[in-house]
């Protein structure tokens, strides 16, 4: 592989990391609170509210049922409105975030639902407010499971970002399609795939490590 190719690969990796990191951060910013609200408004939880729970649940489901590649095209006007352009790495962040937010909210919900209801009841018996229960009970108790969930979301974002690349977003997907596929450069294709594999392995390993450190239920 030529030095030029290596340079392109590094640039593409940088773009992918940029897209994934920024969309994961923004999606978490919205997805985590949304997941908390989904959880606590559920039946028998600390702020049961059937109407709100159903409405939010439907919106989340609707967003999750649109395949990423369609969502990306469908929201082009919105993307243009937010970043001023519909093409490019920064523009790709808008659809990536919108597709990842409901995913994260469901992951958070399922993590928080795993928290022992008895522990929540104990906190209530001590006079904890709903806010204190969220911050001092739900989130810390579920943190190790949340970290694994976010890891999952990041890996799924890496996949989506490759698709975004195919539509002019740059990054590793873009590189593989333009050079590997359209110009029949098999070595570029292989190199890109290897970089993606390594990237996913690294993310998963980091996620597992952090989660294991946070998980105090298995210390002996």
């Amino acid at each position: 592989m030529s030095p030029n190719m290596i340079h392109l690969l590094i640039k593409a990796l940088g773009e992918t990391l940029y897209m994934v990191a920024l969309s994961a951060a923004i999606a978490s910013l919205f997805g985590i609170p949304l997941g908390v609200i989904l959880t606590i408004t559920g039946k028998g939880h600390i702020k049961e509210n059937a109407a709100l729970h159903k409405t939010l649940g439907s919106i989340v489901n609707a967003l999750r049922s649109v395949p990423f590649i369609i969502l990306m095209v469908a929201i082009i006007p919105l993307t243009r409105l937010i970043v001023g352009s519909s093409i490019g790495t920064t523009a790709a962040i808008v659809p990536l975030t919108i597709s990842c937010t409901p995913f994260i909210s469901r992951i958070i919900e399922s993590s928080l639902l795993e928290v022992d209801p008895g522990v929540i009841e104990a906190a209530q018996s001590m006079g904890a407010s709903p806010m204190q229960i969220i911050w001092k009970v739900l989130l810390p108790e579920a943190m190790h499971s949340i970290v694994l969930g976010i890891t999952l979301a990041v890996i799924s974002l890496i996949g989506s970002s490759a698709m975004a690349g195919a539509l002019g977003g740059g990054g590793l997907g873009d590189l593989a399609i333009r050079y590997g596929y359209q110009r029949f450069q098999a070595d570029t294709m292989v190199a890109t795939v290897i970089v993606l594999i390594v990237l996913v392995q690294v993310v998963q390993t980091i996620g597992n490590r952090i989660s294991a450190k946070l998980n105090k239920t298995k210390i002996k």
Binding site: G127, A128, I219
Partner: protein, 345 residues
């Protein structure tokens, strides 16, 4: 200290209304250990949760330490709950916090600063004997140690009342014993009122001053522990008492042909219970000397219930029909509780 007036709890479920508590009236005095015993599903867990309003009664009044819990708003209720500690069957500790962190938790909720928390937690760790475990996580503790953390956590906010929801049901007998003696000690030292919910009669016998028996959402019997124990009225209460009294007929007696009707030549099989000093009269020797019968003691057992001796005796009385009848009449008139189990040949 705690007063429950006409408490009703009805759950509306898909399969119809479930009447979990029916007109519960209870008064629990300051400083006593009050037991509420019932089988699972009797409503005892719901009842104890009505005291700190984790379950809101459908109707009725709950008064704790002069404060009407049922009339409080959410914010006031949270304040009031800090006055009522609670421990649970499955401990319900925060797995992500150390022993220290768990005990500090209720204090953090009250907004206490770090230095004050530290001053509060150290003596509590000592009280429950876990000073050397402060940095351990719950997963590193045994069941008994976890419950000790639960107790320390419940006591952190200096509550006047401690609610125990099946606090010893998940523990082995030795650990149960040590937790119960810790609770008794806390009750004596801190003069805290304790409400124990349990299905284990030995827990009641071990530490309760008074006890209420709950069945199908109703309190069917209540009184001092000694009364309930020695003179149970309702069938369920009798079963509970029998469950820890080892006065089941011994096998060698069960093998005998026991029948209810007297047949000539039979011996009477009688169980006698003595409470306190009702054992003053020399019953056995009276039976032998005055009624010309022979008495054979099959089993004898004596227990102490809060300093009151309580004995049971299973005897066989042998004699001719007239003497036997008079002897049984005599037993009936005594202050002992007697029960003719049957006759054996």
């Amino acid at each position: 200290m705690i007063e429950l007036q006409h408490i009703e709890k009805i759950y509306h479920t898909a399969s119809g209304d479930l009447h979990a508590l029916k007109d519960i009236n209870l008064t629990i005095n300051e400083g006593e250990i009050f037991g509420i015993i019932g089988l699972s599903g009797a409503g005892k867990s719901t009842l104890v949760r009505c005291i700190n309003m984790l379950e809101k009664p459908t109707s009725g009044k709950v008064i704790v330490d002069g404060q009407e819990m049922t009339a409080l708003g959410e914010e006031q209720l949270r304040k009031a709950r800090q006055n009522i500690g609670m421990i649970f069957q499955h401990f319900n500790l925060l797995s992500s916090r150390t022993v220290y962190g768990n005990i500090a938790f209720p204090l953090e909720i009250q907004g206490m600063d770090k230095a004050s928390i530290q001053k509060k937690v150290a003596p509590l760790l000592e009280l429950v004997g876990l000073s050397d475990r402060a940095d351990h996580y719950p997963s590193q503790l045994s069941g008994g140690q976890k419950q000790r953390v639960g107790i320390a956590r419940a006591l952190a906010s200096d509550p006047k009342v401690l609610l125990c929801d099946e606090a010893t049901s998940a523990l082995d007998p030795q650990t149960t014993e040590s937790i119960l003696s810790l609770l008794r000690d806390i009750n004596k030292r801190l003069h805290i009122t304790i409400v124990m919910i349990t299905h284990q009669m030995n827990v009641v016998k071990e530490i309760c001053d008074r006890v209420a028996v709950i069945e199908n959402g109703e309190i069917i019997e209540q009184g001092s522990m000694v009364d309930i124990f020695t003179n149970p009225q309702k069938a369920t209460t009798k079963e509970f008492v029998a469950s820890i009294q080892h006065n089941d007929l011994p096998d060698f007696v069960k093998k005998l042909d026991i029948h209810k009707e007297y047949r000539p030549g039979d011996k009477a099989l009688v169980s006698l219970s003595f409470i306190g000093d009702s054992a003053g009269e020399p019953i056995v020797s009276v039976l032998i000397k005055q009624y010309d019968t022979n008495v054979n003691i099959l089993t004898a057992n004596i227990e102490t219930l809060q300093d009151t001796p309580f004995g049971t005796l299973l005897i066989e009385v042998e004699g001719d029909e007239a003497h036997l009848k008079k002897a049984l009449d005599y037993l009936h008139e005594r202050k002992v509780k007697d029960e003719v189990i049957g006759y054996v040949s």
